[in-house]
Symmetry: C2
DNA sequence: GCTTGACCTAAAGTCAGGTTTAGGTACTAT
DNA sequence: ATAGTACCTAAACCTGACTTTAGGTCAAGC
């Protein structure tokens, strides 16, 4: 069992955030010892799931919903599975978008390297994709394709 | 040249957002025709960069800084390059974190599939990683490794 | 000539996700 | 016994990124 301060250290989260999560109902079955929260393995796993679901784009109130399903037992397995499937698809899509962003950034890094060498953007501003280096051209085209 | 309404359509952004961006200084050299904004190729590229930098985690005020560098000319190429290098590293790190999140979600999807089959979590709660399917075990271990 | 539609501004409002403040309890070391 | 430290609550506050509101200009079509 851990105190809130220990969990704060373990996860690198401010104590105020942990209390906020508790207030929002994210640890529905947390125990207390004369008022003081006792974080067990259940709450640590909850925190791992919270960080995961948060990064997958879920809001606190929806994470709360999930935690309530966990309390309700085996009848909510299908909902919980559906939620994870849904968030998995969302993260896969997000990673695709991030890769496109990455390609734009790669292109811009190359662009300014060239601009620094040239001292101006004259050559670059007329540059056709065909004349770019292979990898840069692919990054450029991926970043500028508007098909998603 | 495009009106604000046309750009809104093109980029799928609310008109209010475009006006907000302008107010925040994200189109420092936009032209106007008796008060009405005229978006040119420069502003469209600015918008692409805005979306890119926003997703890379930059705040509006830092994007404004970048746009100001663009107005200042060739002397700011090094700053601009440095910014893109920095954001590239940030996005690479973010994608790594997202892949870890994805592995957690993969594991949870598998977990609830099993729980639905079993009707309870008894077997799962004692399951050692060694006894999981290869791919799930790898996802589980990647997701639970606390080394970043 | 008057309504409709697309544009404009300044200022106030909204929302999520925390953080800070103010005030209190309880154990421990000096 | 008193100072320090770790915990507690309720409620106010904060931030970024928009969005909404209220009121106005201007050209086109009926």
């Amino acid at each position: 069992m851990y105190t809130i301060g220990q969990v704060s250290e373990l996860f690198g989260l401010p104590i105020s955030t942990l209390r906020y999560y508790d207030k929002e109902g994210l640890f529905p079955t947390i125990q207390r010892d004369s008022g003081i929260r006792k974080f067990g393995e259940k709450e640590l796993e909850a925190l791992r799931v919270i960080e995961c679901l948060k990064k997958s784009g879920l809001e606190i109130k929806d994470i709360k919903q999930f935690m309530e399903w966990c309390v309700q037992g085996s009848e909510t397995y299908p909902q919980r599975r559906k939620l994870f499937l849904h968030q998995k698809a969302a993260v896969e899509a997000e990673i695709e978008r991030m890769n496109r962003v990455l390609d734009m950034l790669r292109f811009k890094c190359w662009y300014y390297e060239q601009a620094i060498r040239d001292g101006n953007e004259d050559r670059l501003s007329h540059l056709q994709p065909e004349k770019m280096p292979e990898d840069i051209r692919r990054a450029y085209e991926h970043a500028h394709s508007m098909d998603a």
